[in-house]
């Protein structure tokens, strides 16, 4: 039942992934992917594949860790509605891109999934909410104006970059971790790069 993720992926991480879920529980994610594009045939076709493994057999597994076992058609939300959120979050092809976020002065780090955001405004808003601060307005020339915080990230090469300089897709694929700089260090980044 397990589908090996295609050779399109660089590393075929799925094959070596250790999980607690029951076999075949991947299918929920696979369905969501096929549902995002709305060309024929109907997405119900992929849902139907699970009809064989219906609620009856799953009820017997009540005591098993339910973390990844999804029952067909439960909770009763129309697939149209469910898919709206998959689509909203961007194409969820494969696992999310989780990166640690540190903020100068904060006692512990946070972790966020970059896939969930649609672009820089979205991400910055989330960071502002998460850490209860204002980040200011980005401009190419001056970095982040109007606050003492600057969001930075460590890229693949180990360099610390200012968030916002490169196109979003490039950013999400190269970002290893985020750091919200504060104070003079932050202001330093803005000028004369």
């Amino acid at each position: 039942m397990e589908k090996a993720l295609g050779y399109g992926n660089d590393l075929n991480l799925k094959a070596t992934e250790l999980r607690l879920g029951l076999p075949g529980t991947d299918e929920v994610e696979e369905q969501a992917v096929s549902n995002v594009r709305n060309k024929r045939p109907m997405p119900e076709a992929s849902m139907a594949e699970e009809c064989g493994g219906n609620g009856k057999s799953d009820a017997e597994h009540e005591t098993a860790p339910p973390a990844k076992t999804q029952i067909v058609g439960w909770p009763p939300i129309r697939s149209y509605r469910k898919n709206s959120f998959q689509a909203k979050k961007g194409e969820p092809e494969g696992p999310g891109i989780y990166v640690k976020v540190s903020m100068d002065g904060a006692p512990y780090l946070r972790k966020i999934d970059l896939k969930v955001y649609q672009g820089y405004p979205d991400l910055l808003k989330a960071l502002e909410n998460m850490f209860k601060l204002t980040i200011g307005v980005y401009s190419e020339r001056e970095g982040y104006k109007g606050s003492e915080y600057a969001p930075t990230y460590e890229d693949k090469d180990g360099d610390w970059m200012l968030v916002g300089d490169v196109p979003w897709e490039m950013f999400t694929s190269s970002c290893k971790r985020l750091r919200i700089m504060k104070g003079s260090e932050a202001r330093g980044l803005g000028c004369g790069v």
Binding site: N54, G55, W74, P75, P76, I77, K88, Q118, D122
Partner: protein
């Protein structure tokens, strides 16, 4: 949100009526008995109509014209054969709750002057993937008979959960050049190419509403296919169409439609484009689906100098009472809608991932809101804000962002309690949550006596009251006991037979029931089948009810539109016995194993049975066995 018409469709469901599809049999019986003379009834070939009879005939026809409710018309048609005929010739609005209950030929033979048709297909549980694709409910077998019988009168068709093809749409448009109104709710099977042909041919089109339907992207620019020049379009709703549209063509169309009152945009229309449309048509619009309410995918972000004043264009929308959309909302733009809040009666945020903080300034002004849909991202705090302002609330729906059993829950009994205290006029609620208490449900049953629809979905299966650890029996029991107008109930959480006992005992007006993962023994289902005389639609999944329980409802099944039982404890033999006992019932076993090897004890995965005048349908797919 479904528009008025679709809401009306589900209201029609709830009309208590004699089954119109079974009138024919009862009428036949009635005809055999002698009738008093002078009533114009019992007409045979030899009977010479007197002057009095003719007068009565005319009077009857004129009076029947005033009867619009199908319940009244059904009753009138049962009086005698003459009334039956007259009513059949004057009924212009036809409602068929189950497309398989009656054949198209029979319908067109009886009703001769139909202007408007409502036709429903698949049962509701098909929405949740419990029905394999290709089961049926095709519109195609209806198109030709309708074209033959009702040309040129037919001008409105509303379909729900039917499969409609591009060819069907083309045929419809060609057969009825004066066609005015097409509403497709939860339909599939067609695409933008079918739409393009349809809109091109229906030059008198007033209403095209696509609601929660699957529309395939054939990469055809259907918006451009509307005829040039002035259009009589009054309603165009396409928020469920998941493909980009030609905005310039849309802008032109809106410009050419002075009667446009309702506009529902899809998520490919940005807020900037919405702005342009509102500049043209804002003041006339009563109903707006905003589209993405976000920036265009192509627009450079941070282009703040050129942002138009969205609030000002909304201020001009003085007629706006229904607002939905927000498909990819950027919450920063929410203040734009503040000017219209006070007039809104309907607000649908069910695609908007906003929190309580973002909701508060909006809802604070919505004193007149009667219908409110939202995501649970607003949390209990958001619900409290709703409760604080929306005293006129009649309908609330709270959907989960994270629709998993073990997901993050953001609303709970706290929010439910708040709503019950702040919104005493509540009539309908659909509430998804991860945890609930009996106390809150009982409170709602007391605070909201006008409840007609109560649908609570605790997403974890078999979850008890999370404070007391008790089953949810008492909560649901209180609802049926205290809400004397209740007609629709959907349950969840840990439920024993006791809950069913309550429902059977107090749910005397209940017409639609939905159960999942509930009950202990056959007694549960028996209580309900024996105790609820108004039952029309019963949907059950994954509950321990077997053949004995099924048989306890034999007296009831002809009064019902359908019974659905999936993943219960039914056997082929048990279902077959029902089929034998009730010949007018079509008993479908869906997803059955190989027919030839079918044995008595073989379990039935899904039972779907419904009364029908046409008997076994002729489009049965492989995976369905008619018993």
């Amino acid at each position: 949100m479904r528009n008025d018409r679709a809401e009306r469709m589900s209201e029609d469901d709830d009309h208590r009526s004699q089954p119109s599809d079974l009138d024919f049999t009862t009428n036949k019986a009635r005809n055999c008995s002698p009738v008093a003379s002078g009533s114009g009834s019992g007409v045979t070939e030899e009977f010479q109509p007197t002057y009095l009879d003719e007068v009565l005939d005319n009077v009857l026809e004129n009076v029947l014209d005033f009867l619009t409710s199908r319940r009244d018309r059904n009753a009138a048609s049962l009086v005698c054969k003459s009334w039956y005929r007259k009513e059949a010739h004057t009924r212009s609005e036809l409602f068929i709750g189950n497309c398989y209950a009656v054949s198209p030929d029979r319908v067109t033979a009886r009703f001769t002057k139909v202007r408007s048709l409502v036709l429903k297909g698949k049962p509701r549980f098909a929405d949740f993937g419990l029905m394999p694709p290709g089961w049926g409910a095709h519109f195609n077998p209806w198109v030709m008979p309708l074209a033959r019988a009702y040309r040129p009168l037919l001008e409105k068709v509303h379909l729900k959960r039917m499969s409609v093809t591009d060819d069907d749409l083309e045929m419809l448009a060609e057969s009825f050049p004066g066609f005015k109104e097409l509403v497709l709710v939860c339909c599939d099977g067609f695409g933008t190419s079918g739409l393009s042909v349809f809109v091109r041919k229906c030059r008198q089109l007033r209403v095209l509403d696509l609601v929660e339907s699957e529309v395939s992207d054939d990469e055809v620019d259907w918006i451009s296919c509307f005829p040039e020049g002035e259009s009589c379009l009054e309603s165009l709703i396409f928020d469920c169409v998941e493909c980009p549209i030609n905005f310039e063509a849309l802008e032109r169309l809106v410009s050419n439609s002075p009667s446009l009152k309702k506009l529902g945009l899809n998520r490919h229309v940005s807020i900037g484009q919405l702005y342009r449309l509102l500049l043209i048509r804002g003041p006339q619009l009563a109903h707006l689906g905003t589209g993405s309410f976000s920036l265009s995918e192509l627009a450079p972000h941070g282009d703040q100098e050129q942002e138009p004043d969205y609030a000002s264009v909304f201020s001009a929308c003085k007629s706006l009472v229904f607002l939905s959309g927000f498909r990819e909302i950027i919450p920063d733009y929410l203040p734009a809608i503040y000017p219209v809040c006070a007039n809104l009666t309907s607000l649908n945020f069910s695609y908007a991932n906003i929190d309580a903080e973002q909701l508060r300034p909006v809802i604070r002004n919505c004193h007149n809101v009667q219908v409110f849909w939202a995501l649970d991202s607003i949390c209990d705090e958001g619900l409290q804000a709703v409760a604080a302002t929306c005293r006129e609330l009649r309908e609330l729906r709270v959907f989960p962002i994270d629709a998993r059993e073990d997901g993050e829950g953001s609303v709970s009994e706290v929010g439910l309690q708040a709503i019950s205290e702040g919104c005493p006029k509540l009539q309908s609620i659909l509430f998804f949550c991860q945890e609930m208490t009996n106390a809150a449900v009982i409170a709602m049953s007391r605070n909201c006596p006008d409840l007609v629809v109560f649908r609570l979905c605790i997403m974890g299966r078999h979850r008890p009251d999370h404070v007391t650890g008790e089953p949810m029996d008492e909560g649901f029991g209180a609802i049926v006991m205290n809400c004397k107008k209740l007609t629709r109930l959907a349950t969840s959480g840990l439920l024993t037979d006791k809950a069913f006992h309550y429902i059977g005992r107090y749910g005397k007006l209940v017409r639609t029931l939905s159960f999942a993962f509930a009950g202990n023994t056959d007694s549960g289902l028996k209580y309900v089948l024996e105790g609820c005389p108004q039952l029309q639609k019963l949907e059950i999944r994954d509950s321990p009810f077997g053949d004995a329980a099924l048989h306890s409802g034999l007296h009831q099944y002809y009064n019902m539109r359908f019974l659905w039982m999936s993943s219960c404890r039914l056997t082929h033999e048990g279902c077959r016995q029902v089929a034998q006992a009730l010949p007018r019932l079509v008993v479908e076993a869906i997803g059955s194993p190989n027919k030839e090897n079918m044995e008595m004890d073989d379990p039935v995965d899904t039972l779907y049975m419904y009364r029908s005048l046409q008997g076994q349908r002729n489009d049965v797919p492989e995976f369905v066995t008619i018993l």
